[in-house]
């Protein structure tokens, strides 16, 4: 048939860019090569790790530590030696991957694992007018979507869940889930003890109200030996701090009270003394590990309070004994065994104070490290679907573009469910030119706050430039003259109304990212007051459909602890995921299972969540329901 012949030609002539050589990327590169693609460029920043080997089948044990993009290329050339694969061991956000770079490709295929990079690639594809096939997987779930400028919605036309953040007081005072204890252990306690001490830290926010001495309780006293120090920290954070919190009776009126835990309650005196003394020589050769010292070798086991306490003391001690040089600069890393042990033990002890069930090291590591659940099969299926979509894109067969969901529980008998893509959202600030409106107190808000909270975090710009009328008030990036840079740094600290070109009510500012070729206008509306609880940023951006902050609830505390932990997303999203009115219920019905729905909504990896099923009625395509906000939608013609 003619179609088949033209598929082959289109594939042969195509120059494609793959972003990501991980789980999906390995499968994709293999399937592209087998399908006849012969000019493939691939960007990946990462190097190979052991935990990749169960699904990233182009990599072997001997490749650990090497560039994914390069090793993937070499592996594929073994079975397709005559094709061209160009690897880049680099970050896709690097300035060398500009619009010109993107323009050389016929299609871009994403196999990424984070929202940030996905948004960045979306913008470059829009600017370069190159079609994008986007993908993601979590466990048995996955999806593939197609984004072609002017024909289908862009990746950012629909709101995306962003990593969850938790209200500070939930973390510091009223945890109710294990993940809250993990965030506390990782972002507060671990950071306080081993990280940068000059950073703001809310660890003692509720406990050192007493105007005692200014000395930092976390500082080790000169005459203190390590076991003494470790026990003092233990008693302070699990005992004293809880007792202090209990004193605030208002907090516990409608909550279960925690109980303080002191080391003498958790461990008999002699056990405290003996702790870790069974350490064998093996520990000297390997990375220091409290579980090795203590003989707790099964990562699946749930430790008792006593064991958690022993791990806590031992891990703390090992940090000071074996890794003293790093203290002050440590940042939690899921691949740092001792850090994971410390955080697991601390989270479990705290959990037991608050009556929250403890978790194994294996599980705690997943929560703390925000580890994506991944299997080879889903990645292989998704990669197959990407190639099928890419071939349609190359043939310009846009009537048949589909987004496809890979489901765990079948919906209408389907495990692979194709859905017709949406038209572009006319109010999308990324792919249309709708002006945004920013309500802000122009007399008290500094330019820096607008740049951090709105331009970078909400609009996702990488290196923004800010213009007020014709005056450039800020520019980021390399190549600035020193006096310019100094001038912009000065502007950052000025409030909006006092900038060289004042920003007041009704001022229109323009923000632009040259690399992303994204330019937005923002109309400023001055407002004096903001609700601390509902508007914690102190400013409100309207006309913006970008990522939505899934803050669980805000307990009256205006700040929140950002966290990458997503482990309990599945049970919490049912009530808090923001979707357009009417959309959630319908999509839920389509997917026939709350679990499919929740999981798809939640995939950190997965893109757009709104869907209309292409219903099979004797092969006619019928739109099941309409998006109430976008009004009548026509089939793509």
């Amino acid at each position: 048939m003619a179609a088949a012949a033209s598929s082959e030609e289109a594939v042969k002539a195509a120059k494609v860019l793959m972003v990501g050589a991980g789980g999906i990327g390995c499968e994709l590169l293999k399937t592209l090569a087998l399908s006849g693609f012969s000019d493939i460029h691939i960007i990946d920043l990462d190097t190979i790790e052991v935990s990749n080997l169960n699904r990233q089948f182009l990599f072997r044990q001997s490749h650990v530590g090497q560039s994914k993009a390069k090793v993937a290329r070499d592996a594929v050339l073994k079975f397709r030696p005559n094709i061209n694969i160009t690897p880049y061991h680099a970050n896709v956000k690097d300035s060398k991957f500009n619009v010109e770079f993107f323009k050389q490709f016929n299609v871009v295929l994403n196999g990424l694992d984070n929202l940030d990079a996905r948004r960045h690639v979306n913008r470059l594809c829009l600017a370069a007018e190159v079609p994008l096939v986007e993908s993601g997987t979590t466990g048995f779930l996955g999806q593939v979507t197609v984004h072609v400028k002017g024909k289908t919605e862009c990746y950012e036309c629909q709101p995306k869940p962003v990593p969850k953040s938790y209200p500070v007081c939930t973390i510091t005072s009223t945890p109710s889930k294990f993940v809250h204890c993990i965030v506390w252990a990782k972002d507060l306690l671990f950071a306080k003890l081993f990280g940068d001490r000059n950073q703001d830290n809310d660890l003692n926010v509720r406990s050192n109200d007493d105007s005692g001495s200014k000395t930092d309780v976390f500082e080790r006293n000169v005459d203190e030996d390590l076991p003494q120090y470790a026990q003092r920290i233990y008693d302070h954070v699990f005992g004293y701090n809880i007792e202090t919190a209990l004193a605030n009776e208002e907090t516990w009126k409608n909550r279960k009270k925690p109980y303080p835990i002191y080391i003498r309650d958790a461990l008999p005196e002699d056990a405290v003394q003996r702790n870790g003394s069974s350490r064998d020589h093996k520990n000297e050769e390997h990375e220091p590990s409290a579980t090795v010292s203590l003989g707790l070798r099964n990562p699946q086991e749930i430790w008792s309070l006593a064991d958690n306490s022993r791990v806590f003391l031992e891990a703390l001690k090992l940090f000071f004994e074996k890794r003293e040089k790093e203290i002050g600069n440590l940042i939690f890393d899921k691949d740092d065994q001792l850090a994971v042990e410390f955080v697991t033990a601390a989270a479990n002890i705290r959990a037991s104070s608050f009556g929250i069930p403890p978790h194994s090291l294996f599980e705690a590591k997943g929560v703390a490290g925000n580890i994506v659940h991944a299997v080879a099969t889903t990645n292989a299926i998704i990669a197959g679907l990407i190639v099928i979509e890419a071939i349609k894109v190359l043939k310009g067969d846009y009537q048949n573009y589909r987004m496809t969901y890979c489901l765990e529980h079948p919906s209408r008998k389907m495990l692979l469910m194709p859905v017709e893509p949406f038209e572009p959202n006319k109010s999308c600030y990324v792919c249309s030119e709708t002006p945004l409106v920013l309500e802000v107190n122009t007399k008290t808000t500094k330019l820096r706050e607008v740049i951090d909270k709105v331009i970078k975090s909400k609009l996702g710009m990488n290196l923004p430039l800010v213009m007020v009328g014709a005056t450039l008030v800020f520019e980021d990036g390399e190549g600035l003259e020193p006096d310019e840079a100094a001038n912009y740094a000065l502007n950052l600290e000025k409030v909006l109304a006092e900038l060289p070109a004042p920003v007041v009510n009704d001022t229109k500012i323009t923000v632009e990212d040259f690399q992303q070729e994204l330019k937005c206008s923002i109309n400023i509306k001055h407002r004096d007051e903001f609700d601390e609880e509902k508007e914690p940023d102190g400013m409100v951006l309207a006309g913006w459909s970008g990522p939505v902050d899934k803050q669980v609830n805000s307990n009256g505390d205006k700040r929140s602890v950002p966290s990458s932990s997503s482990a309990d997303d599945i049970d919490s999203t049912a009530e808090d995921i923001p979707v357009k009115p009417g959309m959630k219920r319908k999509l839920n019905e389509i997917l026939e299972s709350q679990e499919n729905f929740d999981a798809l909504q939640n995939q950190s990896d997965v893109g757009s969540s709104s869907a209309q099923v292409v219903e099979d009625d004797d092969d006619d395509i019928v739109m099941l329901d309409e998006d109430p906000k976008q009004g009548k939608k026509k089939r793509l013609q």
Binding site: H373, A383, G384, P410
Partner: protein
């Protein structure tokens, strides 16, 4: 697999390697996997995708049967065979694929079994928990399926075939009890009873729901034609169109199904496919089959009962539950 089989801990090496997937299916399933023995008859683009998936997942052992010498045609959808005659020349598909698969995961035993799949006896099958057949004639598939069913232990049987942009998977788990994860998180014990392949292709078509996948019927027509003409799978081509369409008419008449349920265009696509496999479709079918085998070994999750179809033309991956003929028939 004999029921439990979850005792003994995973080694540190296993925990590190399988970390991400244990987070999906649990330690227990991982232990069961590591004790399962899988046999694959027929190495092609689709089955190597499946083999890759279960070797990565960490099954206990994988045995391959395919005595055919590697030819250039085998390179099309196969990433396990280096395109170098001096490497594959004079060697069987099973041998060359085995060598590459071993590399994927040193903890899995991959080996070659010699012989003709159409002569496989029941005692030989007894060594396996899972049997996958591909590229075989209907006669061979029926023979192996019946042999699996005759053994005292449960041997799960799968047949999988890719015809260019279309694919079919048949599943026979005999009696399968498993833990079903209900939407919402609670679990329930479930049991399913499967018809044999013979039964699943014998049901009268007018007894099936109107929306049954068209590929189910189309594949039966093709298979029926191949059987009566003594053709090997993939040997029937577009030049046989007239004869195949007349077979379609005969079968539809006999089973009271409107011919429009098996569109001519679909029949033609299957005939044009011959032995060709579309690599993305191989990846999809091999992925689905990998998941199904993992579900069956771990006794966790709703398995496919009993056919799965994928067609790249509409992008749907559909399950069909085809019952056995009612006992009163005959």
């Amino acid at each position: 697999m004999d029921g439990g089989g979850a005792e003994g801990e995973l080694t540190a090496q296993e925990t590190a390697l399988y970390d991400r997937q244990i987070r999906v299916w649990g330690v227990d399933a991982q232990k069961r996997l590591s004790k399962a023995h899988v046999l694959v008859c027929g190495m092609n683009g689709t089955t190597i995708e499946f083999c890759k998936n279960i070797v990565l997942a960490g099954v206990g052992s994988l045995s391959l049967i395919d005595d055919h010498m590697v030819t250039e045609d085998d390179l099309n959808a196969n990433f396990l065979i280096p395109p170098d005659g001096s490497i594959y020349g004079g060697r069987s598909r099973a041998e060359v694929c085995c060598e590459s698969l071993k590399d994927f995961n040193p903890m899995v035993r991959v080996s070659v079994e010699k012989g003709d799949p159409s002569l496989i006896d029941g005692e030989f099958l007894e060594k396996f928990d899972i049997v996958v057949v591909s590229g075989a004639s209907l006669k061979t598939k029926l023979f192996i399926n019946e042999n699996c069913r005759k053994r005292s232990k449960r041997i799960a049987f799968y047949a999988i075939d890719c015809k260019d942009s279309c694919g079919e998977i048949f599943v026979d788990l005999q009696k399968h009890s498993y833990v079903q994860k209900k939407p919402g998180g609670e679990t329930a014990q479930q049991e399913l009873t499967y018809p044999s392949l013979q039964e699943a292709i014998s049901v009268r078509w007018n007894n099936l729901p109107k929306k049954t996948a068209k590929l189910y019927f189309a594949m039966r027509v093709l298979e029926n034609y191949e059987l009566s003409e003594g053709r090997s799978p993939g040997e029937t081509t577009l030049s046989d169109t007239a004869a195949v369409l007349s077979r379609r008419k005969d079968m539809c008449d006999k089973m009271s199904l409107s011919e429009s349920q098996i569109p001519t265009a679909l029949m033609e696509r299957l005939l044009a496919a011959g032995k060709k496999e579309h690599p993305p479709v191989c990846a999809i079918l091999g992925g689905i089959l990998g998941q199904e085998v993992i579900k069956s070994i771990s006794c966790k999750g709703d398995p496919i009962k009993n056919f799965f179809y994928f067609d790249a033309a509409d992008g749907k991956g559909v399950m069909e539950d085809i019952p056995p003929p009612p006992p009163t028939a005959n």
